[in-house]
Amino acid sequence: MFKGVASRALGVFALFTVVCGLGYTLVVTGIAQVAFPYQANGSLITVDGKVVGSELIGQNFDDEAHMWGRIQNVSIVKGEDGEFMAYGTPSNLSPASEEYRQLVDARVKKIRASNPDAGMDAVPVDLVTCSGSGLDPEISPDAAEYQVPRLVKATGKSEGEVREIIAQCTKGRFLGVFGEPTVNVLKVNLMLDGAL
């Protein structure tokens, strides 16, 4: 019953390790590097030769003159030389507990205090929740709209300019159907700062 099983198992395993592990990975990565180098290398945004972030990875914003994103649970990744780097993690909190309501309530108070002139009464949900990755780079158009009066005041730009920047950083649904329309927060802020 076991005759020849072990040798064939070893052979098949070794072969597929080379084919599916090495070969397949190299082929896909090779094609990606040649055909889509920007995407395959992390969609990095560079300003004056310095990497200032990735289009896809959110940062934490707290300044009145910047657009705020999803709530970011900042975590720390230590580099080889002991340097600290910011990363994000999801909250993994249940949204059905009393503690969670208090947490949301505190966020609402802070956001309302910073946006006294907001045109909407209720705060859009994206601004008070943590994302699935903790690194969500985007927010809904409503959540961006909520912050326009504050951004106008804090940056000294006209309402038209701020809205124009937001419009440039807004992406619609895929094929007009799939996913949700979003505003890229990092890009908006780099444009508000005049860096992009």
């Binding site: 098949v12 082929v27 995407q39 949204p95 309501r101 949900v125 994206d126 996913g179």
Partner: protein
């Protein structure tokens, strides 16, 4: 309205693609000529020559099983070794240390069983070499193993008074060469085009637009200081200097060959993410375009297996009937999750202070743990698909779903991963339930049960019961034991009923070979790692033993001629009965446990 269209299209795309793939897989099983044969057939013959595999061998069920077990065993040992020794091996630009014995055992058991439970975060734990030479390889071959066992079962139904179930080596080789590699080359390249990273560079750093001030917290980590004023290296709050605070000016941007691994972890129903947060990570699933590829592919092969089974046993109606039963369950479960997530929770709405309505400008609903680009519709559908399909990848955090959303996720896994289920294994799991159904239906009308022209006798019944009860048994026994360990509560992220749900979900996920998690729970401690590892091995290999035993015994039997008294197993009545039996076994086994977790939390929520 936008959301409704998304739900309908996601299901439609799945069905449209699964039908032709099922037909293709049936051809592959029998080594028939396909459009890929001119390219791949010479390679296939080369493999057999090189490894001295007899392509015409007909293994009995014991030899087939022995091949599966030895092959999986080699995978287990190799994966443990690769992880433990990663610091001495190349392909480790972050210079990550070797992985502890308990975590490497857990991860190895997880990946050879097609579970892909992860007690670790890939970007900070595993070297690139381990990811692609270890995990990616298992993603392929564990998926191939599941499909091979299904092929053996099909031959069991088809053979008349014979012994042979085909050759495991041939089934595995064909599945990998003709189905998995071509499909994933296409998926992988599309994902890279859509922004999933694919390189061999070490992690990158970026300068933060706004530096962040952090201080040590009680858990031994670091927390952001609210309202901090940063002046150079000093941090002040209300004018006072904060001792021990640090200013962080850089951002961590992990890199690596993610795209190829992400493609196969979706389509092979593996689910193990390149990054800790899986397909919620913007580098693993950056847009609605990559999302639809990943989400469709995670259920594509399991759905195609139904049609391949029908063609294989020469009764396409049977394949459609099984597909119908699974599809009905999936639609119901997706519906329940979606309704609850769109509604959100009263705690999140905070008495109207937070707008959770769906508008033209926002998805609304329960956005905690969900990405803006996916909103509610694409997140809810994914979570239903991934818990149905024993895939376990996530694009939103299940821990943060509403109580009833989490209830459905757990229930789908607990049903034994038969709502499509894993590649191959979902189908043979469902055949176990089908055998149970014809038995019960046979008892009701007083006839000897038959299925696809084979008499179902006590031998098959015994193994069918093993097949149906292995998952509930593993889940309930392991979670009961774990809940008696005093230290368990310290590992949980949430309190009360939801805390219990976190623990129950972990053991359910591993017992169902799913791999998703209520990820707030920390499972990376030795006893939990070992226990979950053993549970995954049991829940994977007991059903395989049962399936091959049934296949072996059916192959030896003669065909029973169909008569006027034969109960149809392809009509609406059978589909209804099958759905009923699946729900009945699941409800009877799990209602008490689920009542303590998500159901209790639901009543607390509305109280």
């Amino acid at each position: 309205m936008d959301a409704a269209i998304q739900y309908i299209l996601y299901f439609a795309v799945l069905v449209v693609l699964a039908v032709p793939l099922g037909r293709f897989m049936a051809h592959i099983m029998d080594g028939e000529h396909t459009f890929l044969s001119p390219v791949i057939a010479p390679v296939e013959r080369g493999v057999y020559r090189l490894l001295r595999i007899d392509a015409a061998e007909q293994m009995g069920c014991r030899r087939y099983l022995a091949s599966v077990l030895v092959f999986s065993g080699i995978g287990l040992v190799t994966l443990v070794a690769l992880q433990a020794l990663q610091s001495f091996l190349p392909g480790n630009p972050q210079h990550l240390p070797g992985v502890s014995w308990d975590l490497s055992f857990n991860t190895a058991a997880s990946f050879i069983t097609n579970t892909n439970w992860q007690s670790y975060s890939g970007e900070t734990t595993l070297s690139y070499l381990v990811q692609f030479m270890g995990l990616t390889v298992q993603n392929f071959v564990s998926a191939g193993t599941g499909i091979a066992v299904m092929f053996a079962l099909i031959r069991g139904f088809r053979q008349v008074k014979e012994q042979g179930l085909g050759s495991f080596w041939v089934d595995l080789t064909r599945t990998v060469l003709y189905v998995l590699i071509p499909l994933n080359l296409v998926f992988g390249i599309c994902l890279a085009a859509g922004g999933v990273i694919s390189n061999f560079q070490p992690a990158q750093k970026a300068e933060l637009v706004e530096p962040v001030a952090v201080q040590p917290n009680a858990d031994g980590g670091w927390s952001v200081i609210d309202g901090a004023q940063i002046e150079g290296d000093t941090v002040k709050v209300d004018g006072k200097v904060v001792e021990g605070a640090r200013v962080v000016t850089e951002q961590f941007l992990p890199q690596g060959p993610a795209a190829p691994q992400v493609a196969i972890k979706q389509s092979g129903t593996n689910g193990g993410g390149f990054f800790g947060v899986n397909s919620a990570h913007p580098y693993e699933n950056p847009s609605a375009f990559t999302n639809i590829i990943e989400m469709t592919s995670l259920l594509l092969i399991p759905a195609a297996c139904c049609f391949a089974f029908g063609i294989g046993v020469k009764n396409t109606k049977q394949g459609k009937a099984i597909f119908a039963a699974m599809f009905i369950l999936l639609v119901i479960f997706t519906g329940i999750i979606a309704v609850n997530e769109h509604a959100g929770t009263p705690q999140l709405a905070d008495g109207g202070a937070v707008n959770i309505e769906m508008t033209d400008g926002q998805a609304g609903g329960n956005m905690e743990g969900k990405e803006s680009r996916f909103g509610i519709a694409s997140s809810s559908t994914w979570s239903a698909f991934t818990t149905a399909a024993s895939n376990g990848s996530v694009n939103s955090m299940h821990d943060s779903y509403t109580p009833l959303g989490g209830f459905v996720q757990m229930l789908q896994i607990a049903l034994g991963e038969v709502v499509f289920g894993g590649v191959g294994c979902g189908l043979y799991g469902m055949i176990g339930f089908a055998i149970l159904t014809v038995f019960i239906a046979g008892l009701m009308v007083g006839r000897t049960p038959e299925f696809l022209g084979k008499k179902i006798e006590p031998g098959e019944m015994r193994w069918a019961v093993v097949l149906c009860l292995a998952t509930p048994f593993a889940i309930l026994v392991c979670s009961a034991i774990a809940c008696m360990v005093p230290g368990l509560a310290d590992q949980l992220n949430n309190g009360g009923a939801h805390g219990f749900s976190e623990a129950l979900y972990a053991f359910t996920s591993c017992g169902g070979n799913n791999g998703s998690a209520f990820a707030g729970m920390n499972c990376n401690i030795p006893w939990i790692n070992v226990m979950l590892g053993l549970e995954m091995l049991f829940a994977r290999f007991m059903p395989i033993i049962g399936t091959l035993a049934i296949a072996g015994s059916l192959a030896k039997k003669g065909k029973v001629a169909e008569s006027a008294g034969t109960l149809s197993t392809t009509n609406g009545m059978f589909v209804f009965l099958l759905v009923f039996i699946v729900l009945l076994i699941g409800a009877l086994s799990f209602f008490p446990a689920l009542a303590l977790g998500p159901v209790a939390e639901f009543f607390q929520m509305i109280a």
